[in-house]
């Protein structure tokens, strides 16, 4: 009996696709589940429970393991073994928990030398840890060679605001400033171009390139950094103490908001 061409072609196609499906089913099957919300506020939690919860966040919702390893130097991010002890000495005058907390919610403030500034703020989408989760994660990091002493009160109340409501719910920062006038402040009175490049404004590379500053930093950080550059830390690879701490006095309130508005357009 002669087999019709359509049957031959159909069987052949089925075998090919079946082979692909079989192979895909024979390799490791990993699902990506949406993270669970953890709430510890108001509850009595022992340090051990906190560290355990933090470790879980480290491995799952925090997605920390994508770049960080414990006991192994990564190419994208530092080894976290012993970070609880190292954190106390990383920034003079800053406690271990304060340093770890800053690293989590404002990771651009201090970059470990030799690594790119790629870490996202963990309390912002897409990671979007809530306040309890940041607390637990800080405790876990402290436990890696240090003492767990972080309390919920150490975590600012604003942390995780973006996580509430499942993203798209963070309070919008609306500034009354005019970005165009802010650009003028940047190039004239502020004299920022003496040290910073910003988009199409060429600048001397004494300080970091600000061309994408609004993408990698929060409005809060940018505003504070202008007024208190020392207090906000120095970006790794750049000399400390160069940025003047006098903008709070030399710029008018209008010029300041204009300048911040301009910087927030740099994405």
């Amino acid at each position: 009996m002669r087999v019709p061409v359509s049957v031959k072609v159909g069987v052949f196609s089925l075998v090919v696709m079946g082979g692909y499906s079989w192979f895909a089913n024979s390799i490791p099957q990993i699902e990506s589940k949406p993270p669970q919300e953890l709430s510890l506020e108001g509850g009595n939690v022992t340090p051990a429970q906190l560290v355990k919860a933090g470790e879980e966040i480290y491995k799952t919702k925090g997605t920390c393991e994508i770049c960080h390893k414990i006991g192994q130097k990564g190419t994208r991010a530092p080894d976290l073994a012993g970070v609880g002890a190292r954190a106390a000495k990383a920034k003079p005058g800053t406690s271990a928990k304060a340093y770890l907390l800053e690293s989590l919610i404002n990771p651009g403030a201090f970059i470990v030398e030799g690594y790119p500034p790629i870490m996202p703020a963990v309390d912002k989408p897409p990671i979007a840890l809530n306040r309890s989760e940041v607390w637990a994660l800080t405790a876990f990091l402290e436990s890696l060679g240090g003492t767990v002493d972080v309390t919920l009160n150490d975590i600012p109340a604003t942390v995780g605001a973006a996580a509430a409501g499942g993203g798209a719910a963070a309070a919008e920062v609306k500034l009354p400033g005019d970005p165009k006038l802010g650009k003028t402040v940047f190039t004239t009175k502020g004299g920022c171009l003496a040290c910073h490049k910003a988009g199409d404004i060429p600048g001397t590379p004494v300080g970091p390139d600000l061309s994408q500053i609004a993408k990698i930093q929060t409005p809060d950080y940018i505003m504070k950094k202008i007024l208190d550059p020392k207090g906000m830390g120095t970006v790794s690879g750049f000399p400390p103490g160069v940025m003047p701490a006098t903008f709070g006095q030399t710029l008018t309130a209008k010029e300041y908001t204009d300048l911040v508005s301009f910087l927030l357009t740099l994405k």
Binding site: F12, V16, Y20, A24, N25, E31, I118, P125, E172
Partner: protein, 602 residues
Amino acid sequence: MSGAESMRPGRAVGRSACAAGLLLAAVVLILLALPVEAQQAASKESTYRAFPLLGSRLAVWAVAQLHLNFAAFILGVPIFAVIIEIIGWRTGEQRYDWLSHELVKLTFAAFSTTALLGALLLFLFVGYYPKFWAYMTSIFFPTYWVYALLFFAETFTVYLWYYGWNWLSGPRKGIHVGLGVLSNLFGTAILVVANSWVTFMISPAGIDESGALKGGVWAAINNFTWMPINIHRLIANIVFGGTIAGAYAAFRFLAAKTDEERARYDWMGYIGNFVALSAFIVLPFAGYYLGREIYAYNQTMGITMMGGFMSWLWIIQAILIGILFLGSNYYLWLGMERIPGAERYRKYVPPMLVILTIGFLVWATPRSMVVTLDEARAMGGTHHPLLGFFGVMSAKNTVVNLMILTTFLSYILYRRANKIPTTPWVKTGMAIQWAAFGAAAVVVVFYGIYGYFVESIVRIGFSVYQVLAVIGAIVVVMALDVPMFKGARSTGEIRWGTIAPRSQYVLILLAVTFTWLMGLMGFARSGIRQHWHVYGVLRDTSAEAVTPALGYAANVITLVTLTFFALVMFIFWLGGLGEKGSPEGAHGHAAPVMAGGSDRDA
């Protein structure tokens, strides 16, 4: 032909044009009315509804992928159909005009199905994901109008292009070709508008922290992944169109009753494979560009895509691409058997096969393996001490560039199979060509090895040198080959229709594999968003927010691909019904006689 018979095609044309017009109007009305419905639905605070039995996610996934497959086909095929028509117009060779018409006929038959699936997808979004749809509408509403207008323009132009084939022939052929070009421009514009929606979901831009549009819609359209996906999809559509056209030709070849028919569809299959292969060679470069932009948008997303739960997906992709490379080359080598004079090039086949096979194996080597603790201890980690070296980007970039070079060499040998050049500078030309191949291979291998000794940020830059070396070699070799073989002595005519039947199964394999690969890439594109409808902005809070494992995804892709081919066969069968009993084919297009063939360049 009797008078009644001669009236039939005219009536059929009128009926189908009316039906298509009504369908189009309905689709456009739905498109414009549904945003309002969506907003009303969303205001009732119904975030999700459950699709019966299948679940909403699977329903949307299947329909979206089917729609994408059909859309890719109807957008990809006209691109090379119009080029083939232009070749026929300028050379006066009827076989090209016939082929172009045959290709547009296939597109035309699939046109309504694409629109219907698009409308169905819209129903699913509005009905089952109203909050998501309302949000997308709040950002992209102005583009809906543009999309609808483009859809009108595209439909009318394609109809005019297809039905005006005879009317706009002879001295008016230029106008007809112009319609073909115009329909491609409208089609591409539709593609880029739709891409803005899907890429916004991956890499949202132009919005504030609350997710609202900050300024104009342009900033949302021009997001990080928009242009890379435009380019990647445009090229992939051409590959896809070529493979489907090739598979159609293969089916007709296998079912052919006469030598003439077999020869005709052998030639059509060759052209389909040629088109697919030409575009396929540059597709990996477009893929790199897309990957780079994903990293530039969000490192976490890029790392999740390549090194997170999706890392094994790229192993499957490598296997599929390896099969496509091997299949395309094998088809060319089988095709050389029907060309007198090609025997002298047989000796090149084994080394080329070795390079392709090694490349395939290296590309499919995973970086790390899932092993038991004992196995890991014995191996000294999850990276194999030897094979682990082949799992990194340096090795993969090197082999894919060598595979592209080898495939290009296959094509060059096929191209000159029945020709002996007579130009006086042949020896010099050949020497320069081989030197270009050799130099490109050396550059590719050098940077591949050097990449192991530098930081990753430097290593990424090396891939640019490798790509430039390969493209440079292709340009140099082709620039010499064309004049060198002009007026070449023929060693005999290509015996169209005498190719081994197994070659036709290779064409079907290529079509099935590429369609399956498109499904896999669709899963990758959506999967990297994980539990977000719009990444970092609108979270998927439904019960189906889990991104499934590869096995489940593969089963869905297989079912969708099966459905696609079943629908395509049905549509092609329907399209062919109108021509049954007509010796000339649709619209009086005489099929060319090819048996004995031609030795001219395709």
